[in-house]
Every structure is written in C-alpha cells, then in structure tokens.
C-alpha cells in the first residue's frame, strides 16, 4: 500500500490481506466475515445518507467514518460479547456491529423523544449500554483516561472482560492519553488502546502532533505492548486486536494499537478539507479503500458475489430509509427530560427550575 509507506515503522505495520487479495490462515467464521463486510457497507451507506440529510437541514451534524471502516469494524469484531467498547465519535459502525439497532442510532441523530439520551447530546453522540458500548463524549481523549479504570475493575471482579477504547492520533497529544496509558501500564489493566491514525486532526496533519517515529512506539513509555497495523486491512486489524485480547486474558496487560488509515472525507459536516489538504494526498488512499479490498478477498474465497453486493446494498438502503422516516417523524423529548438525570433524583432547585420552564412554555 503506497500511502502507508511514509508512516511505517522499521518492521512495517502488520498486514494480512495481500496485494493478490489472498490472506493466509484467517480464523474467522465465514458468517462473521460477511457480517463484518455488511457492517462496513452499512456504515458507508449511512455516511452518505447522513451527509445529505445534513445538507438538507434535516439533521444538524454528522461525523463520518469514510475510509476507516476496516479499522473500526475489524477491531470491534475481534472483541468478545462481554467486553466493553468505549468509543470516540467515529465508531457508530462498532456499535451497530455489536447489535445497537439502526433505529436507536438514528433517534440520536435526530435527537428525538426516543433517543436513549433524550436529545441531550449532539448527533453521533450515542450511548449503547445494552451492548456494552460506551457513551460518546466530544472532548478529545477523555475516554482514554477512563478505560483503564473499567478494565481494572473487571479484572478485580474476576470477570473475563477486556476494554477496547478508541481515539484518533490527535488525541495522543492530550494529557489524558498519557495518564491513561501510564495507569494501564502500572495496573496491568486488560485494556486495548486503539488509535485510528487517520492522518489528520481536523486541519492538522499527524506529523504536527508529535515528533515521535510512530504512535505505536509510544507504548515503550508505558511498558505496554505496541503494535502498528495496516488499518485498511480488516483482517490485520482483527488479528492485532484479537492478539491484544489474548494478552488481556493471559493477564499480560494492555496494548497500544496504531491502525494506519486515512480520513477520506471531511472531519465532519462542519468541515471542508479542501482548505488544508491537497487532492494528490487523498488519491492513493482512495485506491486503498478498505471496502473493495475486503470484498475482493471475500469474492476470491467465494464468500461474496456481485449478487450479494446488490442484494445487501438494497437491503441496507431500505433499512436506512425506513429508519430515517420513523426517526424523523418522532417529536422532541418532553420538557421534563431537560431536568432529569442531572442527579439520580431531581433536587429542589431543579424542581423549581422545571416548574419555571413549564410555566414559561405554557404562558409563552
């Protein structure tokens, strides 16, 4: 993969999907391989649809995963059902793979009355407790400092549960990256730190985040394992995470995984990358698109066909259309929801404020 070369460590990143679309010894069930690919397709389609919805003013915002689907789905698929996945803001595909219904995701996108988070957060800031999926937070990197606590708690409870926490390469500059990795090292927490190095933090290139040779090499500073993987190779990502998961199970502690990938789209619907990066840079990464790459592998194994592609794409499109239609028609959350969940029980001052808000709504 040409575009990776410039960011390779001496050993080069882990790759499994070869240029001839073959891959040796893939220990993943065919059904799961298909499900992984389907989820990547779903994410790709959703991105497309949601960006259009935003342009039409029907939702206010979307932050997509275009080009990063292999890194996201490959990693989520390598975890076990009881494991915890703590997201950054681009990993809706991980949540969907784990079972979060499309409807729940779209309820958040529209911030409607059925949004499990009651329209309190922006689009793409969902929470999926029922699927052991975390709660999206905008502040970059905060989840990195929390994940070791979850992982250590699971270990202390004797649960065979590991924590997968996502973030971008920009997040590695925050203090929270440092303290999270450092605590995980000291406490041998069963935690997998998964960095999507997609080349950019909004307009800032990865080369401006750090002068270190790679993100993976930072593991040395914390006494944890460090792995660099071709993030557009879904099988390599799966393998790297599964191996890190094994280390967790064996009590060997945390791993920092750097998945080399690329943000093919804008940072979010609020952004236009033409202001800071050249099309020439993007082009080779388009050629390295993880979806056709994975599809070619599946096809040569006879696990996927043009007919499958057509059928599944149609399925996905109609699922999305239907879910949007339902989600969009739902009303906003009730006024009361504004004052709930600040505390377990509403204290006197929020009770007063709720009554004031209610009066104003009724009078105005």
């Amino acid at each position: 993969m040409t575009p990776l070369a410039s960011r390779e460590t001496p050993q080069g990143p882990l790759r499994i999907l070869r240029d001839d679309d073959q891959a040796p010894e893939v220990p993943i069930e065919p059904g799961e391989l298909a499900r992984m690919y389907r989820t990547m397709l779903l994410a790709r389609n959703l991105d497309d649809r949601l960006i259009r919805l935003q342009r039409q003013g029907r939702i206010s915002f979307h932050i997509g995963s275009l080009g990063e689907e292999a890194a996201i789905v490959g990693s989520a698929a390598a975890m076990l059902p009881a494991d915890w996945i703590w997201p950054c803001y681009r990993e809706f595909a991980a949540a969907l793979y784990r079972g979060m219904p499309l409807e729940a995701y779209l309820d958040n996108m529209f911030g409607n009355a059925d949004d499990p988070s009651r329209g309190r957060q922006m689009p793409d800031h969902w929470t999926g407790r029922a699927w052991n999926v975390g709660s999206v937070s905008s502040p970059v990197g905060t989840q990195i400092a929390q994940a070791p606590g979850m992982a250590w708690a699971a270990k202390r409870r004797g649960d065979d549960v590991a924590v997968l926490v996502y973030f971008g390469e920009g997040a590695t500059s925050e203090g929270d990256f440092h303290v999270g990795l450092n605590f995980a090292g000291v406490f041998k927490a069963p935690c997998i730190f998964f960095c999507r190095n997609n080349g950019w933090a909004i307009s800032v290139p990865a080369s401006r985040q750090t002068a270190s040779k790679s993100i993976a090499v930072k593991a040395t500073a914390y006494g944890v394992a460090g792995v660099q993987v071709d993030g557009n190779d879904v099988l390599a990502v799966h393998r790297a995470v599964r191996e890190a998961r094994e280390r967790c199970r064996r009590g060997e502690g945390a791993t920092l995984i750097e998945a080399l990938t690329y943000r093919l789209g804008p940072h979010s619907t609020s952004d236009d990358p033409r202001g800071y990066r050249k099309e020439e840079e993007v082009e080779p990464w388009r050629a390295a698109d993880p979806l056709p790459r994975f599809r070619r592998y599946l096809e040569q194994r006879g696990l996927w066909s043009d007919a499958d592609e057509e059928r599944v794409t149609a399925e996905i499109e109609s699922e999305i259309r239907a879910a949007i239609e339902v989600a969009e028609r739902k009303g906003p959350p009730p006024l009361e929801s504004l004052f709930d969940d600040v505390y377990a029980r509403r204290p006197w001052h929020l009770e007063e404020q709720y009554r004031e808000a209610l009066r104003l709504r009724e009078e105005g």
């Binding site: 009651r118 309190r120 990197g141 750090t210 609020s270």
Partner: protein
C-alpha cells in the same frame, strides 16, 4: 468604517496587533495554515508565517502552558481554545499558574496573554459545544474576563486585551459570530466598525438603552435577546435600562450601581447555569451597594442548572420571552 461581523472584527484586531507589535502571535488547534475552525485567524499565516500563526498539537494544557512560557519570555501570545468547552484540560495551567504568576513572584515574572475561546449555545452543539464557563474564571483572582457582543466591541476589546499587562480570558459568543440581522430587531452585529486603531477600554460597560423602571445587565449573545426584550416591553410602557457589561471582571460597578440606584430594580441575564453563576455576584454587589434603593428582588434569567442540552436548547437558554417575563415580574413586584 467597514461593515464586519464579529469573526471579521476579531481577525482585524489580530492582524492590526500583529502588525504593530512583532511579539504578538496567535496559536492553537487549526489556527495556523487553515485559519481556525471559525476562520478567526484566516490570512494571518500567509501574512506573518508559521512562527506567528502557530498550529499546535491537540492539547489545551500544552497550548496554555507553552503560551505562559512564551509570555514569560516576552512574547504576547493570543491562544485560541477551539471551544470554551475544551478549556478545562488547561484549567490547572490557567488557575494555578497563569493567574498566580505575578503574585507569587512579587511581580518578577508576568505572563500577559489573551486566551480566546468561542462560547455559548445556539448552534445545536449540545453539552460540549455550548458551554459558558465565565464564572470559573471570574472566581479566579488574577484574571480579567471579557466578552463582547458586537463587532466593534470585539475589535476594540480584543486590542485592549492584547495590550493589557494582565492575562485576559476573552470569550466570543459564537451564536452571533457571523451576525444575523433579524427583522425589526436592533442588531449590533454586521455593524460599522472603525478601521485601523480602535480600542475599547477594559472595565467600562456600555449603556445600550436608557430606561427608568428596571436595570438589565447582560453580556455576549444574550445582549441581543435582552435588547429585543427591552424593545418589546417598551410598548407596554416599561422602560428598561440595558447595560452590556463587556468586561465581566473587573466589572464596571459604578455603571451598574448607578443605574440600579436610579431604577430600583435589577435583572441579570446570562446563558451560563444559574447556581454560583456571575448573576449571583452581580445581584450581591448591587444588594451590598444599593440595598436601600432596591424595590424588588433582583432577578436572574439564566441557563438552567443542567448540562447544556441539544434538542431543547431554546428551552435552556434565556431567550427573549423569558427575559420579557422577568422584566414584567420585576417591574410589577
């Protein structure tokens, strides 16, 4: 004079100060080559180069820590925090270091600098793109806190802040960044702004409307909601004196107390949560200094004591109808 919105006025102020004083520089996430996610620093990279329009790694603590170091050595950094919601990783550097450096060193070291941060709601940004954290900084001795509401003030106050010998936290109400002339409203945005040198002194409030029945103090985006509210109640014969504080701390206490002594009634409007917010300070100041003039309990029209919501943000923010309601009740008391 040139017609500008707040973003343009901020950009103009930065450019002028960078031309005037080679020690002035801008720094932060995305502020350099790209010109900032709100475009406040656009063009500065081309004019002043990468050493004075600096893209930093993604770390607010690093931005402020480094800026303190630069300022200590004699540069004049204007550090951008991309959203006020993201100022907290730098809180220790601001509260324990920046605010205390002059005091603890007996004036040997100082770190005059400006921290610019877009704040406030109204852009459907939810919890983390809408906060108004000014009270945290007003409570911190050693900092000055400023928030303009109009392009002309944005320019004049930012220039004064850059020249000020003390560290200034400069909040920019992003809801009115680009102006939004609204039918029939007084809209002090997209406004004529003096070209070239233009300063507005720190510590002086602006009287936006005279009135004899109620004093209303506010700042930032809520100035515009308040002015509209005052216009509406004027039709009922209720004359509201509207004060735009502009510098939050040290506040223009004379303007405030003088007005309340005249009107006997006081309403404060801000977006930030109510409890321990700046309104409480203003109410208390007025009660300490004009107690015998008060004819009604001072009223607070503020954000609720919840995280900033998304879908219901217009129920959260103290928009015109709520202000009207508070003005009427205070006048009627």
């Amino acid at each position: 004079m040139a017609v500008m919105n707040i973003i343009q006025a901020v950009n103009d102020a930065l450019r002028l100060e960078m031309r005037r004083d080679p020690s002035v520089l801008v720094m932060g996430e995305d502020v350099g080559k790209f010109g900032g996610v709100f475009r406040a620093t656009v063009g500065l990279y081309d004019e002043f180069g990468p050493d004075r329009s600096i893209d930093t790694p993604l770390s607010e603590g690093g931005i402020i820590g480094t800026a303190i170091g630069m300022a200590t050595y004699g540069l004049r950094p204007v550090a951008e925090i991309q959203f006020a919601d993201y100022i907290f990783p730098a809180f220790d550097q601001i509260v324990n270091e920046l605010a205390k450096l002059r005091y603890r060193s007996g004036g040997q070291y100082t770190a005059p600098m400006v921290i610019r941060a877009p704040c406030g709601g109204g852009i459907r940004g939810g919890h983390y793109h809408s906060q108004s954290p000014e009270a945290y900084f007003i409570h911190t001795a050693g900092l000055k806190v400023v928030m303009p509401s109009s392009p002309a003030d944005a320019k004049g106050l930012l220039i004064s802040s850059i020249r000020d010998p003390d560290p200034v936290v400069f909040f920019e109400p992003k809801r009115v960044y680009r102006g939004r002339p609204v039918e029939g409203r007084i809209t002090p945005w997209d406004q004529d702004v003096p070209e070239g040198e233009h300063t507005v002194p720190l510590g002086e409030a602006a009287l936006l409307r005279e009135g004899r029945h109620v004093t209303l103090a506010t700042y930032g985006a809520m100035v515009h909601e308040s002015v509209e509210a005052a216009r509406l109640v004027a039709k009922e014969g209720l004359e509201v004196e509207v004060i735009d504080l502009r510098t939050l701390w040290p506040v223009d206490v004379e303007a405030l107390v003088g007005s309340v002594k005249k009107t006997g009634r006081f309403v404060v409007v801000h977006e930030a949560p109510r409890t321990c917010g700046f309104a409480a300070e203003l109410v208390t100041l007025v009660s300490e200094k004009a107690f015998l003039h008060l004819e009604a309990p001072p009223a607070r029209v503020t954000g609720w004591d919840t995280p900033f919501p998304c879908t219901l943000e217009n129920d959260y923010m103290p928009m015109t109808p709520r202000i009207v309601d508070a003005l009427r009740r205070t006048a009627r008391f």
